[in-house]
Amino acid sequence: MTDKGISGVRMTMKRLTNFAGVAAMTALAATPALAQEPITFDKGDIAWMSVSTILVLLMTLPGLALFYGGLVRSKNMLSVLTQVFSIVAIVAVIWIVYGYSLAFSDGGALNLYVGGLSKMFLAGMDLNTPAATFSNGVYIPEYLFVMFQMTFACITPALIVGAFAERVKFSALIVFVVLWVTLIYFPMAHMVWWWGGPDYFAAQATALAAATAAGDTAAAEAAQAALSANGLLFNWGALDFAGGTVVHINAGIAGLVGCLVIGKRVGYGKESMPPHSLVMTMIGGALLWVGWFGFNAGSNLEANAVSVLAMLNTFTATAGAAVAWLLAEWAMKGKPSLLGLVTGAVAGLVAVTPASGWGGPVGCMFLGIVAGVVCLIFCTTVKNAFGYDDSLDVFGVHCIAGIIGAIGTGILVNPGLGGAGIPDYISQPGSLIVADYVFGTAVWAQVKAVIFTLLFSGIGSFIIFKIVDIVIGLRPSVDTEREGLDLAEHGERAYTV
């Protein structure tokens, strides 16, 4: 059977540091406890996680596609839609072939960094294979976990394309995406989300205690090893409920790198390039909001009060951020804009992603407000100051709000601020208790995760972009860019009225 989970460490970091770096080849192999007891799935969990999966697809198609598409000039509308839609389809296929395995299987010697190939083509799974959640004794079908996670793998690379929209060759982009998910995304997912699950932890903790009592050092070491056979960032104790680092910071920095490597659009700064349809952008933004509930609340992997809290937080943070951007822009630029309102909402959604299951509704509302204002300043003042052409503000919204959210999570998790507190699955094996909150440790773990992601994804993406640029060439000809990618690359026109 397989155990795995989503979201940052759920044990006290203190404990883990003891084990850091210990390899654990065999750890996941033997899990007798679970092998015996027959596992049943709750129909409510299946219903909820099925819906969550559907919602994440909805936020990508048509959600993200329209949010981005509406912001480009009509001559490039279809290129954006085609990019997003084809990325979803292609990554889904890759996910079944080897992606899931690289992200969510034991990686052997490389386990800290990436999974193995044992689950290629979903090998060894059937209707009854369970996947662990975050509650002791609660499981969902692994097929469901595979599918839910698949939607995350599909949307992340799609987020990147906004940074260099209107000026990338389709063929080059597809090659880039295939390389990027393989070399950047799957490892990131493994490093942040791969762990043994609550029951597995309980079993090992019990074994550890017994061994220590019996003075059996060998057994004790084995148990310790098993307890740290998780992804690298997971072991660092980074909290990421729904993918702030893996999805948003990761895609955001890759986007920035991409737009710098590819360069500005022809005529950028000289010709005017207004969004061709803010209506489409609004529809997309609204669907992002709607679908994001599946993204965040679904990341709880079961339907209970925690998924409800994650949903409520997603709601309050988004509302707060939208209002904040609207008012701040009104004050700064003199007019409240729809685009600002919608962008603010997205910034709030991004910021609350890592915090959704950890913070309280009011804390997350403030997190959203901060994200709204900071991202506004970033997408206007800062961006113009640096003068890079991040067409759709992938960096300014996803990366910046992602960082705000990641670090904010370290603060808002504090029960003193209405947070859920840092979980401890080990002190009392079999039950989940809350460990003491230590500001410094909590925030530092978040900062480390952010820095790691920026470096790993930033550098990795740069190398991949360069290789693709050399081999295929990332950029179409100037004439192609002027004519528009729709006709030149896809032989279609978005609107024929």
Partner: protein, 112 residues
């Protein structure tokens, strides 16, 4: 025959059309144009990007009329299209050498 080209404010179209019909104009062509002139445009802001739009939406009328009617038409246009505010538009008159009604093959004034 003369070709009369008039640029007017969009919301004046119906009023103008009626006025012309009443004085006997039998047909015309209407097209939407972007006008540049003394009337200033506006500014659009999308996140960081500010765009100054110098063009104002206008309606262009084109109609060919017998020489005899030109003055009446120009007057009608001048009076109905007028708001007194900047941007009311212009009227231009050009000479037309031939006219043909496709359906009947009629030419000259009969074609109008």
């Amino acid at each position: 025959m003369k070709l009369i080209i008039a640029v007017i404010k969009p919301f004046k179209l119906e009023e103008v059309r009626e006025a012309l019909t009443t004085i006997g104009v039998q047909g015309l062509m209407v097209s939407e144009v972007k006008g540049y002139g003394r009337q200033s445009g506006h500014t659009e802001i999308y996140r960081g990007a500010e765009y100054v739009v110098n063009f104002v939406p206008k309606i262009k009328l084109e109609l060919v009329v017998p020489d005899a009617m030109v003055d009446k038409v120009v007057e009608a246009l001048a009076s109905t299209a007028k708001t007194g505010k900047i941007g009311d538009g212009k009227v231009f008159v050009l000479n037309v050498e031939q006219a043909l009604r496709v359906r009947t093959g009629e030419t000259g004034d009969d074609a109008l």
